[in-house]
């Protein structure tokens, strides 16, 4: 009985450990000190900046005319995100960015950056490259 309980605890612990490991690996970004990020994520931030996304979604992604991306990125999948950005949600005022080379090339980085913002792992504002 005790043994079984012990085994169960171990199993749960292992399971949790596995969960943590998967979660860590799942994160599309690497960040240190809140403002140093991997190159892909950095390019994602630069894309955010170059396409002036803050004009609708706010400097801190908390939403203005457009919705809060802090909230949205907790709900939608990466595929849904890509779809919304590239094809737009025209009726809601979100343009399609598939015409932009920068967005098309950096869509993974853009997702990584916004996911990091949504998770609270990346700070708002200026970023630099994690060396």
């Amino acid at each position: 009985m005790k043994n079984t309980q012990f085994m169960a605890v171990i199993a749960v612990a292992l399971g949790l450990g596995l969960c943590f490991a998967v979660a860590a690996d799942d994160k599309p970004y690497h960040v240190a000190e809140g403002n140093k990020v991997d190159k892909t994520t950095l390019e994602g931030w630069r894309t955010w900046r170059a396409l002036a996304c803050e004009r609708c979604h706010g400097a801190r992604q908390e939403g203005m005319v457009g919705p809060s991306l802090i909230e949205a990125l907790k709900r939608i999948s990466k595929d849904e995100f890509k779809d919304a950005v590239l094809k737009g949600r025209i009726e809601k005022g979100m343009p399609n960015f598939d015409g932009s080379k920068m967005v098309s090339e950096n869509i993974d980085g853009l997702y990584a950056y916004l996911k990091g913002r949504s998770d609270g792992a990346i700070q708002p504002g200026r970023l630099e490259e994690l060396k």
Binding site: L51, A52, R60, G99
Partner: protein, 602 residues
Amino acid sequence: MVLTRTCTWGVLLGLAALPGLALANPEVIKLSQDAKNWAMQAGNMQNHRYSALKQISTDNVKDLRVAWTFSTGVLRGHEGGPLVIGDMLYIHSPFPNKVFAIALSDQQIKWKYEPKQDPTVIPVMCCDTVNRGLAYADGKIFLQQADTNLVALDARTGKELWKVKNGDPKKGETNTNAPHVFKDKVITGISGGEFGVRGYVAAYDIKTGKQVWKAYSTGPDAEMLMDPDRTMTWTDGRMAPVGRDSSLKTWQGDQWKIGGGTTWGWYSYDPKLNLMYYGSGNPSTWNPTQRPGDNKWSMTIWARDVDTGEAKWVYQMTPHDEWDFDGINEMILADGVSVKGKPRNVVVHFDRNGFGYTLDRATGELLVAAKYDPKVNWATHVDMKTGRPQVVKQYSTQAQGQDVNTKGVCPAALGSKDQQPAAYNPANKLFYVPTNHVCMDYEPFKVEYTAGQPFVGATLSMFPAPGSHGGMGNFIVWDAGTGKIVKSKPEKFSVWSGALVTAGNVACYGTLEGYLKCVDANDISKELYKFKTPSGIIGNVNTWEYKGKQYIGVLSGIGGWAGIGLAAGLEKDTDGLGAVGGYKDLKNYTELGGVLTVFSLP
């Protein structure tokens, strides 16, 4: 030959009756000279926003009360104001650009027009879908839709009479400006400086909608309707011809094709000189390092012949812009303004760059260029010989360079004043100016052009002017002859509403919190009346008379640039986010929603 006014009108109306001759100008001038109407967005062609009505005066303005209200049923920013002609009032809304004709007798909606517009236009207007109002002439109401369609409606029925496409939203071209009727033409511009749009103004025949001329702000002389020998500009203290390729020489390669210089402001017209005046906006992108040269003729005051479109003179205020100081603000025509002891007929312009300019409007001579906010720091002064601003290196985003955050530039990109138009009182020859009191940090970065995508290239954050009263605006009185502030009244937020001044010695304006305020025009520190409308005011105040009673009307409906609080965080979480912080406070005062509020004495 000297004609009496009645006689002149008789002749003009006689001419008007002849088929095929231009007739709108006399009609609109006549309507606007009758103070009972408010027949143009600015009240008259000189952009005065002045009314000769004096039933509402400094003595009784405190007794104003709401006579009636009208909801447009639209959210987001409501700029512009109603037109009143006889017993009808015409009011517009932001996108989808509804138009309502309302009978003043019982406030019944006589007709309503709602265009079908492609919603893809909304994102290219990002982030607000304002419209600055309608124009009237020849029994027609003119609407300049967001999707660039210019429409003529039958003023009696709302029936569409003609429609013409003025631009291409797929390239980022949209419209927010009010159309202007001068003579037999309806003249309009284009927006999209943040999308690399090449700015222009275009004139259409009011009868048919046929384009009569189109003149670009940049590019080859022929496309700007500029004559190298006849078009003049201020050069070494005198007027001289602009010379060949005056624009092309100031751009690298083909950059003028995506070079901005858009034209979404308030134009004016001098019937005697047959010249119209307007300003062109910022060069694209906001990153100055990417576009070397003076970038002519962005940031320019233009005088054009209304019949041919030919540029008579030009004056570039901010060569090689480094701060997004669009030059589109209203051009006000004033007569007999005393400059160095001599009466001059001038055009007065309060630029985004923080300088108030006074120019001889016949010749284009630069007479006065002075700061209308003492906090302006990006230039020490304008050299009156060259006409060029003397830029301070510390605040030069070009000198500081790409990817460097240039801090503490005053004014911010939204200018010491944006499009919110000033009023001019011909009685005391003073200007009543709604202003911003905001500074910024500005970090330019490299961007690539894709048609129809934002082409901005700078991150900025804005905050109330440091070392001042802590607010983000002032309402000021300005002497355009001397270039001096006569009086300044501090405001918590930018004064983003067009002003009105009347023969009753009352000056009125709206605030972003939503107050309509009326002050003593002789001493603007005396606030005589204040009323909280349903939403923040970015519309323009105007006045009319119906059945012996004077009314004051204003559109409320928060939005526009200030209402949106465009700002971006740099460096640290807290750094420079004051602007968002400042404008964010608006949430404590107001919510969205468009309403026309009409006031009168009991």
